[in-house]
Amino acid sequence: MRQNEARLKEARQIATPGDWELEISNGTLHGSAQFYRIFALDPGPADPPLSALLTRVHAEDRERVTERLAAACHEDDPWRDEFRLKRDDGTVRFIHAEGQVERSDSGLRLVAFAQDVTATVEAQRQLAASEAKYRNLMESASDAILLTDSSGHLLEANARAVALFGYSEEELLGMHASALHAPEDRANVAHAFAEMASKGRTVIEHIMLTRDGHRLAVEASGSQVRIGDELFYVGLFRDISERKRREQELREREHKYRTLMESLPQAVALKDRNAIYLSCNLNFAALLGLAPEEVVGRSVEQLHPAHLAQQYRQGDREVLQRATTLVAEQEFAARDGTRVMQVVSAPYRNDAGELVGVLTVLWDVTAHKWAEEALHSSEFHLAEAEYIAHLGSWEYDIESGGIRWSDGLYRIFGLDPSRFHPTVEGVLELVPLLSRQHLKEILQRALADSGEIQLNQWITHTDGTTRVLHLRGSLVRDEEGRPRRLLGIAQDITERDLIERELRQYRDNLERLVEERTEELNAANRELEAFSYSVSHDLRGPLRAINGFSQALVEDCGERLDDLGRDYLERIARASRHMSELIDGLLVLSRVIRRELTIGEVNLSEIAEEIARRLQSGEEGRPVTFRIQPNLTARADGNMARLLMENLLGNAWKFTAGRDPAVIEFGRTQHQGRDYFCVRDNGVGFDMRFVDKLFQPFQRLHAADRFEGTGIGLATVRRIIQRHGGEVWAEGEVEQFAAIHFSLSAQSEGTRATAE
């Protein structure tokens, strides 16, 4: 503070003019204290000479000051000068001095004063510098600058404003600022002025007009300036049309990019160099179950499991390092499970061409992958199957003549797939020389018309063994029916062939054996026939004689025999008759065995009725009731069916002798869901313990003296049924009933019966 006061005091002291006089005659100076102070001279005992003053003047100004002083003394003109003093301390002061030559008694003298005007000069100089700076600033500004008075009239405009608005400076000055604003934007401008008035400054974007009517988008910053009592407005206007256009372009580009991204069926994401997502499409976000804005700004580590994030980061690094697009298959932990993605990663550059990120396009190939795996798997299975079956497949492309073999086929030949490449000639060389022509012909025939190949071919395996190959192939035609390819398989059937040969041998042997056996059998049959013939012919002759002559004996010599003798003869006759029946029974049985069946529709009910009538007429008066279900039919040999029914009903008749009333039934029964015929009687029945003996020849369950019979009847029945493919079984109870159930074919005969 004190310093300031001192400086102020000094300034005041210095600014005060100092009076002085110059005695022109002797060149001495008389001055006030202030004069001495200004010129930093010593007010010594004697007056100082002019030269002392002049030495204080700045060397550059000294000559001029000397001349002007001399001129003023001689010309009698007023003297006025401004010059610099150089103080001992090196500082320079600006001095304003004026004087007038006066004449007096004591001679001529210059009366003058001097004033230190350093402060003023400095101030002026500073003002000029400031003015220059302002000008410079105005003119070099990249923005247009306008200055208006409080009413809006333009006071100043810089060069940029001239260039921007297209008016000359002269035209601009005096114009009202509103002329530069687009009419539609005036409200905006008024608002800006209001804001400047209230807040002192404003920044707006608005539209201005150029001299030739073009509209300019500008960013304007304005401020209110008060100088003294006057208000001014200063505005800086920056042309932002280009920026606007760029912004619009950018928006459009962004829109296009966005549209493209969103319309892609794939998931798309953009990451920066640090694997942080910059943007992504909905598909990508949806995979993670997020919205795109939830993805953006997050790193791969934040969005994916650690092991995958590491993998992605590694992939990005590679893309950025090599600056190339990479395609890979990657796992992706989607919200709904792990998926397999086909991923294209491309380096992403900014406008300057710098690598700033990685653009990835992902599409879900999980299903495809599965299909691929399934295909691999089925190919594997096929190869396995080929291996197991000694099978191979081949393909012959007709146009190119190329041949393709499966691995199985190489294996069959013992060839190395990496060394042997099948060609027609090459393949032909693998078959014996003698077969080649034949094979060629078969090929040509297949190509020409048949379209099919099937043959067995000898080949030589690389291990030297001879193999048998079974070849099959067929022609594949295109849509126009032209032959394109022959597709086929080849199977090593060496082992099978061997087995087949052996089998053939066995079969031949067997056939020979069968032939021999058949011949033997035929011979046996012939013998049997001869035997049957002789039984029927030759055995019966003697029986007839025995029977006949025993009776003849009774007739002729009966009176000479006693009762015992006659009884014996009677027994002889009876025995021979029985033997005759046995022989007949055996003959019938053998015929049932040998004779061929003539199958037709047979009405068993009718046959039964007929037999019943005959039985009843043969033994009238017996109280027997037949209950025969009508129209039961079967497919059978008519004669045998009759024989069957005769045996069954005959048995029933026989074993119901003495029953009153006797009931004999023929009908249908069911057993285990199947239908059977049944002959049932309420006769003596039989003991089920001996049921097995029932159908054996010569097995009788009853004493011969009680019931006549040969014991062959049921054996014949069973044989007839067997020959028809049917079944028979018996059930019975002693003295209660006997029932024979039977069918005449494997089919259900009873069902046929009900159907008819």
Partner: protein, 145 residues
């Protein structure tokens, strides 16, 4: 029934005796001639001036069999209309069919039972000799068995 004759072609002595007994039993009064084999029967029939009213023919015969005899008779004008009854032990279907094929008038199996035997002969004689009326239905009746 004078002036009637039967030719019995039978090699079996027992059967011959039983047949002759049966003929006697049914009071056949005509002549009965016996041939012991087929050849003898043919020779006699082709040479005789008085052909029999009935030939009772066994099938199993020495030299020429009964069927051969039958065939020869039916090919020869002189003998082809003489009634022939096959009287045999066989009921082989082949024998029955072959006999009728060759034009036998009747095929009767020799019963073992004495009474039936006699009855068979009685009916044959009654039918073929005494009534001497051919009955075409006879053939049908026989084939059915």
């Amino acid at each position: 029934m004078q002036n009637t004759a039967i030719l019995l072609v039978e090699d079996d002595k027992n059967d011959e005796e039983l047949i002759l007994r049966a003929l006697r039993a049914c009071e056949f009064m005509g002549e009965t001639k016996v041939a012991r084999d087929g050849q003898e029967a043919i020779d006699h029939l082709f040479s005789t001036e008085s052909p029999p009213n009935l030939i009772i023919l066994d099938l199993k015969l020495p030299k020429l069999g009964g069927l051969e005899v039958l065939q020869a008779l039916r090919l020869e004008n002189k003998t082809r209309l003489i009634p022939v009854v096959v009287f045999t032990s066989s009921i082989e279907q082949t024998d029955v069919l072959a006999s009728y094929d060759l034009g036998v008038n009747s095929y009767v199996r020799k019963p073992v039972d004495y009474k039936e035997f006699n009855e068979s002969i009685r009916l044959l004689v009654k039918y073929w000799v005494e009534l001497n009326v051919p009955m075409p239905e006879e053939r049908h009746h026989m084939t059915c068995h």
